[in-house]
Symmetry: C2
Subunit: 194 residues, 2 copies
DNA sequence: GTCTATATTCTGATAGAC
DNA sequence: GTCTATCAGAATATAGAC
């Protein structure tokens, strides 16, 4: 296939998204200019508009793809015992979020920079994820495996606790991923009343 | 006391800080202009510089004052039983943060927009607060009141869980502050092994 | 597909009148 | 202490050459 000189749509697109993800996570969406993203990729600012309609769309696509990846990767635990399903969720959440610190950071910090329509879509996807955990908690309460007064509050409490890991955990530190998973699972297991 | 026409230093100063706090929390530091803050206060942009050296100082002062307020308000629980001290901390944390959602939001979201020196100072104050909780956990482990493998991790896990409340809890909802305190305290108490 | 050049608007901050 | 006016630069986004 002949290709026009200077044409790199197949590799520039991912590079634009990678650069935007890293820069948005580091400095914040509003603080990052299209020129900075272009410089990181190695093109001029105008060239970015071959890959995104505008800066807002770039942010929205990053957040939506992250949420879709999360929902796709989430293990289907239907059929197991509530305690086992909860452990699977906890370990999955920690591992998945640990692999994508920049995307996680953006997904939680840049909600206010989305347009109302885009915000509603991201919230819808986030709700789906929360609902998966809440269903486990509700099933556990129904079978008396868990003692929880309000599964909605417990859902939010557990997700906040688990997601907070990304603010301090780095693999190079004194703790391995497994250490962190074990310790958080121990606290979660006890907190739900087991 | 005679006062020069147009002179309002005693009331404009707090109004500038209030407006900045609200706008920074809503839209983010980088996304808010000095002109927006001025418009909210009802003055021209140039007048703001009677109250702050620059935009960065405005952010830093808001964050530092919040952290100093937090440390000042933190009850001294030395001498009590670890479980009682932990309950006091949990209920205090929830109540204090519930009263200041904007300041809490800024204190956690705008760290990356601080200059290195300012960041170091805020981190120092945050560490002091975390240390207060960790001391309770360590004392509890030492007296076998708590079963925790790593008090540092537990500290970060509990603070993340409790602080997450500010993202969804509003007093107008179905739950009172006391409801929320009771439910979180129940989960925390169990998670530390009681 | 990428470039250069540019239109238009906005930014933080300052100077000097009142 | 606040105003108007302004500086110097940076922002997003677009147009047209190659």
């Amino acid at each position: 296939m002949a290709r026009t000189a200077g044409s790199h749509s197949d590799i520039t697109g991912p590079r634009v998204r990678d650069a935007a993800l890293r820069l948005f996570a580091r400095h914040g969406y509003a603080a990052v200019s299209m020129r900075q993203i272009a410089a990181e990729v190695g093109v001029q600012a105008g060239a970015l508009y071959n890959y995104t309609a505008d800066k807002q769309s770039l942010l929205f696509e990053l957040m939506r793809n992250h949420m879709l990846d999360l929902l796709t990767a989430l293990p289907d635990t239907r059929g197991g015992a509530p305690l086992t399903r909860l452990e699977t969720f906890v370990r999955f959440h920690i591992a998945f979020h640990h692999e994508r610190p920049d995307a996680v950071f953006i997904a939680y910090m840049e909600l206010r920079n989305l347009t109302p329509d885009n915000f509603a879509e991201i919230e819808r996807l986030r709700r789906q994820y929360e609902d998966a955990l809440e269903k486990v908690l509700r099933d556990g309460v129904a079978t008396s495996s868990f003692q929880l007064a309000d599964t909605k509050i417990s859902t939010l409490a557990l997700i906040a606790m688990l997601t907070g890991i990304t603010t301090w955990f780095r693999s190079e530190g004194r703790l391995s991923l497994q250490d962190v998973q074990d310790q958080y699972w121990s606290m979660v297991r006890k907190s739900v009343g087991c």
